[in-house]
Symmetry: C2
Subunit: 333 residues, 2 copies
């Protein structure tokens, strides 16, 4: 009896000392976020909507959170990664298309002629996208994306693209899900391009990935049916297309939205216009050292009108350089 009286408090004390760092970490969400205004706004919002009996309480089923992808969940410089995939695919497929050696914009891609490529405009890009993203089945396309993803590295950082996701945003996705939110991607990127890796990298299942889509065609194929991807845009999930997609696919208004560019402005407006407590956030790329710094004049991920509205309406604007302790998962090691 005497022994247990002496040892029990000591053991409890020892256990606390040893486990303290773990306990603190578990208690503090979003460890890669500085204790700045953005982190505080997120935590405050989540506490309010999850506090049963509070005025701002939202039932779990209505806790819909939407995230842009390029520039919000992973990097988008010097070019959207999906475009880098498309360029690599043109080179991989070139032997099957001898006509491309004389046909623009393919010729420019094969000759690394950036200037001609840039001059080919949206129409040129669409030709490249159709040639590399359509005319095959969804299954075959997913395989192509995964093959590329497994080997390709970023031209500047030399990291695999799936390691160029933002650690603070991975923590935010997990934090929201732990609080009963359903997390969605709503991106201008093509939907299957993202589905090929989004579950593994972000923990977001295919049915919660919304993106730009092509029309599809069912082919029975003697009992081995496929859905073929047609070279025709069905929905351009960018700018005003984002609330339209959210309405069509989710059928309810998000209470939480995060973007980083003018292409996300309408999604944030749509989220803001609902009743009850709402969270609208923008990632502001201010970190030329650790990532990139760009906003109003950028060709990729331009942030101008959405920034004006965010400042005017007191949406959360994340200063990446000041508010993120780490940028990429590798930085935490």
């Amino acid at each position: 009896m005497n022994q247990s009286v002496l040892t029990r408090p000591f053991l409890r004390w020892l256990w606390l000392v040893l486990c303290w760092p773990l306990l603190v970490q578990a208690a503090e969400p979003l460890p890669s976020w500085q204790d700045g205004p953005s982190r505080r706004a997120i935590v405050e919002f989540v506490r309010t909507v999850t506090a049963k009996g509070s005025k701002g309480y939202v039932a779990p089923a209505a806790r819909i959170a939407v995230f842009d992808n390029d520039g919000t969940l992973w990097s988008e410089q010097p070019l959207y990664f999906q475009m880098l995939f498309a360029l690599a695919e043109v080179k991989r497929l070139a032997p099957q298309h001898p006509e491309w050696t004389t046909q623009q914009p393919f010729k420019a891609v094969l000759e690394n002629d950036i200037q001609t490529l840039a001059g080919s405009g949206n129409e040129g890009w669409l030709k490249i996208v159709y040639a590399t993203h359509t005319g095959i089945s969804t299954q075959a396309f997913l395989t192509n994306v995964r093959s590329w993803m497994a080997k390709a590295v970023h031209p500047k950082t030399h990291k695999p693209y799936t390691e160029m996701v933002y650690q603070p945003m991975l923590e935010l996705l997990a934090y929201l899900r732990a609080n009963g939110f359903k997390t969605y991607i709503v991106s201008g990127g093509e939907v299957e391009f993202m589905r090929a890796w989004a579950e593994k990298v972000y923990g977001i299942p295919p049915e919660q990935v919304i993106g730009t889509t092509f029309f599809g065609e069912y082919q029975y194929n003697k009992g081995k049916p496929v859905v073929m991807r047609l070279p025709k845009l069905a929905q351009n999930d960018d700018g005003p297309g984002k609330p339209v997609s959210i309405d069509a696919v989710i059928g309810r208004r998000p209470i939480f939205a995060f973007g980083n560019s003018d292409g996300d402005q309408q999604m944030l407006q749509w989220t803001a216009a609902g009743t009850g407590k709402r969270f609208m956030g923008l990632v502001h790329h201010t970190d030329a050292q650790r990532e990139w710094a760009y906003d109003r004049d950028s060709k990729v991920g331009k942030l101008d009108k959405a920034l004006d509205q965010a400042l005017a309406e007191h949406w959360t604007v994340v200063d990446m350089a000041k508010e993120w302790r780490h940028i990429f998962p590798a930085d935490t090691q």
Copy 2:
């Protein structure tokens, strides 16, 4: 002490006797299904895919079940209920459209001229659908559907339409969800028409309702944004359109599919063609007494080619008259 020895077993016995019917019901799923081949096939399938360690085990995330709506979850005679809604809306809206008194097919609707209406074909129907389903915001349309649903009754049964859902299918939906399935509607019906009541009636949330869609347009509206419904079909979610929609919205192949007509054949083929254990089911309307009897020659819900394939490939065909103890929820009382 003596008292408790006497009373405790007696109390336990009394409790068992009183609660026995409830216990039996809880232990036996699908009480409105006769112990026939369809019920056995369903239970056997669910047991196999949920038995951890079994060869046929499927992880919960991949337990996707899809259901047609008209004729599978609720009745569809003498006409799809959505069409009855559209006809009622033409009458409600007529005062705002004096031109309809001379314009077909609206004139025929207002004059109850069934023959002219039937002769107006798909083109005529599309005019009626556009006039009653588009040109307004999603929110306004949902309100219209709910207003109609709250008062309208079926021309033959005089029941509200939401009471013409099939009790055995409600039990099946609940049984699948209790076993970790995600239940989806995949219907030729317009998506918002179904979302207006599907959660309340079927327990299926808006994001799990897939249907025919119109293109949408975002309007900022001075800070009160709306998504306007445009008179242009985006996706016709019928026949070969069903696997295309499933691929676009869910992004994974169902393991369980239920339909009732040739419009579901491709969805069932698509489900059947995946690897591992699969369940394909058809509701066969064989019950002229309690519901309707129709198949190969029916104008609504024709079941011909899909029935041939179901018989050839041993899909489950539910004989409504023989296998369903009750049809509608009211029948169980």
